[in-house]
């Protein structure tokens, strides 16, 4: 039985996600646009009480679906039980938010003048990759750049993690432990109990 569902404009959001990642290689300030992927799902779930963002508009999920599914880069194996457990999902959410807060603190330190701007992207919260070629606007207040480097680090790290689990398990394995997905589901649960 072939799935002949009509394609919608939002089925091409993977192009936006891919463009976002690529733009970060040329000008790190584009990283600020990633805030949309942060606030839209949260606001949507808080206002409407659904996960329309995950279900329809998430470009990253679509990108993994395309690479792992259509392009066949995924082994299509079951993810381990622990990875779908609530402990891991909530634990990863807490860890992710802690790292996010740390990124905000770093931005604050640069804003306050306590630290200078580091033109690097931190991959997997550990590896500092030189990224100076993507920072051109040195007349800009430094904290704007620091936030961009920090936010892009978050986005690139989660893409790498999602890519690895896409290859090892199923195309959209990232969706199982995606912190945004976990957060929006928690908001929906809270809304449903109102």
């Amino acid at each position: 039985m072939k799935n002949r569902k009509k394609k919608h404009w939002y089925d091409y959001m993977w192009i936006v996600s891919l463009s976002y990642l690529l733009l970060g290689f040329f000008n790190i300030l584009f990283a600020w646009l990633g805030l949309l992927c942060f606030f839209i799902p949260l606001i949507n779930s808080a206002v409407k009480g659904n996960k329309a963002y995950c279900n329809r508009y998430c470009g990253r999920g679509q990108l993994f679906g395309l690479l792992g599914g259509t392009f066949g880069l995924s082994r299509r194996k079951d993810i381990p039980g622990w990875m779908k457990s609530k402990w891991f999902r909530y634990g990863f959410l807490i860890f992710f938010l802690t790292m996010f807060a740390q990124m905000l603190v770093n931005t604050w330190l640069v804003f306050a003048g306590a630290e200078s701007l580091r033109e690097a992207v931190t991959l997997l919260w550990t590896f500092k990759l030189p990224w100076h070629w993507a920072y051109h606007t040195r007349t800009l207040t430094p904290w704007v750049g620091q936030f961009a480097f920090g936010f892009y680090s978050v986005m690139l790290t989660s893409t790498v993690l999602g890519f690895v689990t896409m290859i090892l398990y199923r195309p959209r394995s990232w969706c199982v432990y995606c912190p945004m997905g976990t957060m929006t589901q928690l908001i929906c649960k809270a809304k449903a109990h109102e």
């Binding site: 799935n3 659904n50 996960k51 993810i79 959209r172 969706c175 929906c188």
Partner: protein
């Protein structure tokens, strides 16, 4: 005589409500209820197993049930 049909079942406790199954279902038998979990309308489900194959958490199973 009892007729058996294949139907999809979701282990709802572990559902992350990502909606992958909804996109795959060729007969639109699945919906995400209140952003919390996937629910299958077994009156519509034809038990093709596409959702089970796509579910990233592997929590959809196809079982034979008496029609």
């Amino acid at each position: 005589m009892e007729r058996k049909r294949r139907k999809a079942f979701v282990e709802q406790e572990y559902c992350v409500s990502c909606g992958c199954c909804v996109k795959e279902c060729p007969v639109s038998a699945i919906q995400i209820v209140k952003g919390i979990m996937a629910e299958i309308d077994r009156q519509i489900c034809v038990g093709c197993g596409k959702c089970a194959k796509e579910c990233p958490a592997s929590i959809i199973t196809i079982r034979e049930v008496v029609a």
